[in-house]
């Protein structure tokens, strides 16, 4: 078995590559595939090199080729294959493409310390949803938030709050999916308020290229209405805002 170490390692590597290419849907972006295959290569090589006998068995066929002991056909294939592979790689890298370049889009744009709301300055640090203060009215506010959501947000963010509204596919990227664990459930309500109130134009320069077609909702909704809509998107998507048990020291 050990004498086949090289062949097993190679087959395993190819099988994993095929698995990543064929089984993951939608297809894995090239950047992730590269990271994964580097790690797979590292894992296989570390395993092989961690035992002297295994390592020598792995090297044996390579030594046979480069020391001229392997069959002539194998030597010819390897010696021709290496420059051909390099040439293919070079062609892939240099061939003209009409694709837009990669976009390094950040996970969440960075919120400012303060924002402008209808001409007044609002500090985001420590900002709470005022409508949560009175628990008795929470349901009423959430119902109103639902109405506001359906009148304004539903067309893009969808009935199920999954970023799949009627207009969703007209945008790249599509609108945020509130049911995804990596979106609003990761964020404090103050962050969501800032995003809704200032929309795409309110995004910071540091978050570029941040593509967002979100309108500046403070131009269309009151402060209370925005907070109500936020109550609803959390309640409707079954998530809760990020909170901290203790307040930061002042």
């Amino acid at each position: 078995m050990q004498r086949w170490t090289f062949h097993i390692a190679l087959c395993l590597w190819l099988a994993i590559l095929a698995g990543f290419k064929l089984l993951i849907r939608p297809p894995m972006p090239a950047s992730v595939l590269t990271i994964y295959m580097v790690l797979v290569t590292l894992g296989i090589m570390i395993f092989v090199a961690a035992n002297e006998a295994r390592f020598q068995a792995f090297l044996a066929p390579l030594k046979a080729v480069f020391e001229g002991r392997a069959p002539k056909l194998v030597q010819a294939l390897v010696l021709a294959g290496i420059p051909l592979l390099a040439a293919w790689g070079t062609w892939l890298r240099t061939a003209p493409s009409y694709d837009a370049p990669f976009e390094a889009r950040v996970v969440h744009p960075q919120p400012p310390l303060a924002m402008q709301l209808s001409g007044k300055k609002l500090n985001l640090a420590g900002l709470q949803n005022p409508l949560r203060a009175n628990a008795a009215d929470l349901d009423k506010h959430t119902v109103e938030g639902k109405r506001i959501y359906y009148q304004n947000c539903f067309y893009c963010h969808g009935d199920a709050l999954a970023g799949d509204g009627h207009f969703a596919n007209a945008f790249t990227p599509i609108p945020a999916n509130f049911r995804d664990v990596g979106t609003i459930s990761m964020l404090q309500e103050s962050f969501v308020f800032w995003r809704v109130a200032t929309g795409g134009p309110g995004l910071p320069k540091g978050a570029a290229p941040w593509l967002s077609a979100m309108p500046v909702w403070q131009n269309f909704l009151s402060e209370d209405e925005i907070w109500k809509a936020i109550l609803y998107i959390y309640a409707g998507s079954g998530s809760t805002p990020r909170t901290w048990e203790e307040a930061p020291k002042k």
Binding site: P29, V32, V40, G43, V107, A125, G182, S185, G206, S239
Partner: protein, 580 residues
């Protein structure tokens, strides 16, 4: 601090005197140089430095100073631990090892002090207004810092020069001095952390920036998390540097005896480094949580915003550290008679480590072409995106830690067969404990996706607790089980392939590179603030540089650090070869 001198109390005092004199001269020279430069240069809030620029110059010197400070704080911790092991096991080789590393300190102290003084000059000359503000705010802590520096130097010299005098019945006095060296070192670290953390998470000042409570300013939101994180990191760093030193000596060894000695030394260094490295992600998580809690803006910048790309690099380095540690242990098992019994575990362990690494390195927001983005519906992959959040990362890193721990335990029992009658039961208990911890980690990992974030954060504590408990129970069972164990044969120290030594270099270089990278993230998330949200950076450098530029600087600093460390290693090795 030459080891050729006969150790005696007089020499200890002479050494301490020399150290105090050297530090005093350097401090006075730094002060005079800063005053002179300030007097001849035009008054300004910021002064510019040609070529490098203010920020880069301060960055390079501060980082190098920090790395050498970590060296001179980490190595005494390492030396003290090995000295304790020597006393407990009564094996002289541990005492010799501790002594060997303490010898490295003299040159490193000098370099740390020179870099510290240079940094002080740069602060005073290039950032006069801000330095003046900070020094007024924290005046008592500066004074304490200077007292601690002198204390540390005096005690470190005593620690070295009394090594041979305080042996036998007097050994406990030497251990006491070792405790004092490390207490002073830790205190120095904690004081320096005050200024750094205040700049990140200021407290104890009013809106105008005036001090309202010194203690609140000291005990700010991130002070204790950074203290703990850096303390653990220093132990890991000290161990890794010691292991790298042993690797250099192993590769240059001329005799089998030397090879055996330095192979063993490398093993002890890597053992301490990895043991300290294991809890490090937990401490880092605590720090990250505190940053997020203090300011969502800083938290989002760090984990989800522009700086999040650097975490992919961090993930690659940390994952590689796990792989390198296991690689070294498995290669080391080749020189342990009987360890081949455990080779069968290597396949599942490598699968676990690789999958863990893949999850750990999966970005949440993916670099994609517009066609790929359109296929995914955005920059989050609907399936892979699940691995991009902390719930998955925690699960992955905990399982990688558990796997590495298991490797260690297999290595430890490599050539031994338990002789106690209850060994079979004990092994079942150990297997169950590991399985239970893995189940807790996985279970909470999956459940994390279904609960709010404030509850999810608590789950990570349960995961960590399960892993630490499993380790503690495993070791508690292992020690009595292996007492009086039969041996297949002695470990063949020195008979390890040379490539294992490169794994030790990798550990040291990765730790250093990580320190630079994570330090940049921690400092960079303040963005255009000297003191976050309170004192703005109004210099021309108040911008965030590109990641490519920043990582080049970090890499350059790492290279310079290792060049300087090589000099320290070379001098230590030369001292060894000189006739007494």
């Amino acid at each position: 601090m030459s080891n050729t001198l006969a150790p005696s109390a007089v020499q200890a005092l002479k050494g301490a005197y020399k150290g105090v004199f050297k530090i005093s001269v350097m401090l006075v020279a730094a002060y005079l140089a800063a005053q002179w430069l300030s007097s001849i240069l035009p008054a300004a809030d910021y002064r510019s430095l040609p070529l490098l620029g203010n920020r880069t110059a301060v960055w390079i010197i501060a980082e190098l100073h920090l790395m050498f400070a970590a060296f001179v704080l980490g190595v005494p911790i390492f030396a003290f631990i090995t000295e304790i092991i020597g006393v407990a096991t009564k094996e002289k080789r541990y005492d010799d090892l501790a002594r060997e590393f303490t010898k490295l300190l003299a040159m490193a102290y000098t370099l740390t002090a020179v870099l510290g003084c240079l940094l002080l000059v740069l602060f005073i000359v290039l950032y006069p207004k801000f330095t003046s503000y900070l020094s007024k705010l924290f005046k008592p802590t500066w004074l304490l810092y200077i007292v601690l520096i002198f204390g540390e130097v005096v005690i470190a010299y005593l620690y070295w020069y009394t090594w041979d005098v305080l042996q036998g019945a007097k050994k406990y006095w030497h251990l006491f001095i070792g405790v004092m060296v490390n207490l002073f070192g830790t205190a120095l670290l904690f004081v320096a952390d005050i200024w750094v953390t205040f700049m990140m998470s200021p407290a104890g000042i009013d809106d105008a920036g005036n001090l309202t409570s010194l203690w609140a300013a000291i005990n700010n939101h991130t002070w204790m998390p950074i203290n703990i994180h850096r303390l653990l990191a220093n132990v890991a760093f000290g161990g890794a540097i010691a292991a790298a030193y042993a690797a250099v000596r192993f590769l240059n060894a001329k005799t089998e005896e030397e090879r055996a000695r330095f192979d063993w030394m490398g093993y002890v260094g890597s053992f301490i480094a990895i043991a300290a490295f294991i809890p490090l992600p937990f401490a880092g998580y605590w720090l990250g949580r505190e940053i997020y809690q203090f300011s969502e803006q800083m938290g989002v910048s760090m984990m989800g915003g522009g700086f999040s790309w650097l975490w992919i690099l961090q993930a690659m380095l940390i994952g590689s550290l796990f792989l390198a540690s296991n690689f070294y242990l498995w290669l080391g098992m080749g020189r342990i008679p009987g360890a081949e019994r455990y080779a069968k575990f290597q396949v599942p362990m490598m699968i676990l480590l690789t999958i863990g690494f893949i999850v750990w390195a999966t970005p949440r927001s993916i670099m994609a072409t517009s066609a790929e983005m359109a296929a995914m519906g955005g920059s989050h992959h609907p399936f892979l995106g699940l691995f991009g959040v902390m719930a998955a990362k925690h699960t992955a890193v905990n399982l990688m830690i558990l796997t590495t721990f298991f490797s260690f335990m297999l290595y430890r029992r490599g050539n031994r067969i338990p002789a106690v009658p209850w060994a079979a039961t004990a092994k079942v208990v150990q297997a169950l404990v590991i399985a239970a911890a893995a189940a807790v980690v996985l279970g909470y990992g999956v459940y994390s996706y279904y609960v709010p974030s404030n509850i999810r954060i608590k789950f990570s504590i349960y995961q960590v607790a399960a892993v630490l408990t499993a380790m503690a129970v495993f070791v508690a069972v292992d020690i009595p089980m292996l007492k009086g164990a039969k041996e297949f044969g002695a470990i063949r120290w020195g008979q390890i392939p040379a490539r294992a030594q490169y794994a030790l270099f990798f550990l040291a270089i990765s730790f250093t590179w990580l320190m630079g990278l994570m330090g940049y993230i921690r400092s960079g998330i303040r963005q255009h603030w000297h003191v976050y949200g309170r004192v703005a950076d109004e210099s021309v450098n108040a911008y965030t540089m590109t990641h490519g530029h920043a990582t080049l600087i970090v890499s350059g600093i790492t290279i310079v650090f290792f060049l300087l460390v090589s000099v320290v290693f070379y001098l230590a090795a030369r001292q060894d070869r000189e006739p007494a």
